[in-house]
Symmetry: C2
Subunit: 264 residues, 2 copies
Amino acid sequence: MTAQDQWFDSAITRLADPQNQRVWSIIVSLFGDLAQGPDDRISGAALTRIIQPMHVKPEAIRVALHRLRKDGWIDSARSGRSSEHHLTEFGRVQSAAVTPRIYDRAPKVPQNWHLLMSEGGGSLEDLLLTESYISIGRSAALGSGNVPSNCDDMVVFDVNARNVPDWLKSRLCPSDLIAACCCLADAVKEVRSTKPGEVDLTAAQIATLRTLIVHRWRRVVLRNPDLPPMFFPDDWRGPDCRDAVFALLDILPKPDLGALNAPI
Amino acid sequence: MTAQDQWFDSAITRLADPQNQRVWSIIVSLFGDLAQGPDDRISGAALTRIIQPMHVKPEAIRVALHRLRKDGWIDSARSGRSSEHHLTEFGRVQSAAVTPRIYDRAPKVPQNWHLLMSEGGGSLEDLLLTESYISIGRSAALGSGNVPSNCDDMVVFDVNARNVPDWLKSRLCPSDLIAACCCLADAVKEVRSTKPGEVDLTAAQIATLRTLIVHRWRRVVLRNPDLPPMFFPDDWRGPDCRDAVFALLDILPKPDLGALNAPI
């Protein structure tokens, strides 16, 4: 076994999400990273080459693809003896909605925040579901930018935070999220620092590593609102983790779909 | 009966609070208006002359004074065959605490507001009791000026109100308060406009009318936080009422205590 193979294997172990290795979710991350365009296709053989090294059985890939088709995320087409898969229009919309946050290297924290307070229930809950509002207690939500038009029945304050108590910090950033973030930061740093000087990875190998990184980062960054630093607990390592994630992705540049799909 | 006597009698009827003619409370208003100084005394005879025209029996005045002594508001001293009454230190502190708001002709609405949000109950409730905070919902309170020092466990936002919904307006300014304010504004305007050109009221008569006005105004103004105009319902007539109250007080200048206490 070469140094490169050893590194690749241990990188897979290190980067695998200890919490969630659901195959359908990994496939969603994979398409979001590598084949989000309307004409992008990934062959069944390429999918297997990318995912199987994560210790996922071909049968599990088939089951996951079946589920994703049923849920309207993925469409598949036969072409001779092989098959080709692509995101549906629905799948691309879902994917595109989160892509900017996942791939933002230096997210700008909004300057203008407002607080909505409802008399109780109803319209505020709708808003929390449909817009990117951050719930603070039972009947208040924090948001940035323009106030939505349907807020006549709410108290609307422009706000500037002056104190954020621990109970709110740990509600916004619970300890499991802090731990997941630390753990990912450590993993990507170690994978990067242990990489042999010269490696010659295949397109599929690069895709395997990228998918693992993006999948796991997605599950940290999307749970984490872009609030000013004072809202975060002291042990939150979000910015450190983000830097480490992109430092590793940068040395694993996105492979070409043609190269990925090319029969070996 | 002279035109002046007729006017005085109908003014008493018009100015009497339809909701609260509790005698001890009227006496508190009276001392607050006329005898708030540490050396100020009002004789029992003067008290009777001021309050009896409000259709209050001497016995009711005695009972009220007894209660006020028991509660530590008033002290009384015998002097020969008559008695003299004065506010205690406690009574003066209580009275002084509300005097600025009652007699403010043009209250300045604070420019800087903050919102405190608690995780639930506890410290916020204490604050609502001890400081001049305005409750907004179960776990939030609006205040002006400096943030108290004991707010580490609360979310503190500097705020600027952009929308105040009807439910909050009518919570801050319920319909009975709006009605009480309208009714008082109408009463003081009518009393002023029907005053005969020339009147020659005794010190006690002036004190009677002033006490009725201040007593009723106190019960409107102290229920009404000094919030920016956008927090008030459209039918709130607070500023109009305030102007009318002071216009009437201005033609009934505070009588001298010596004149009030002088035996007739």
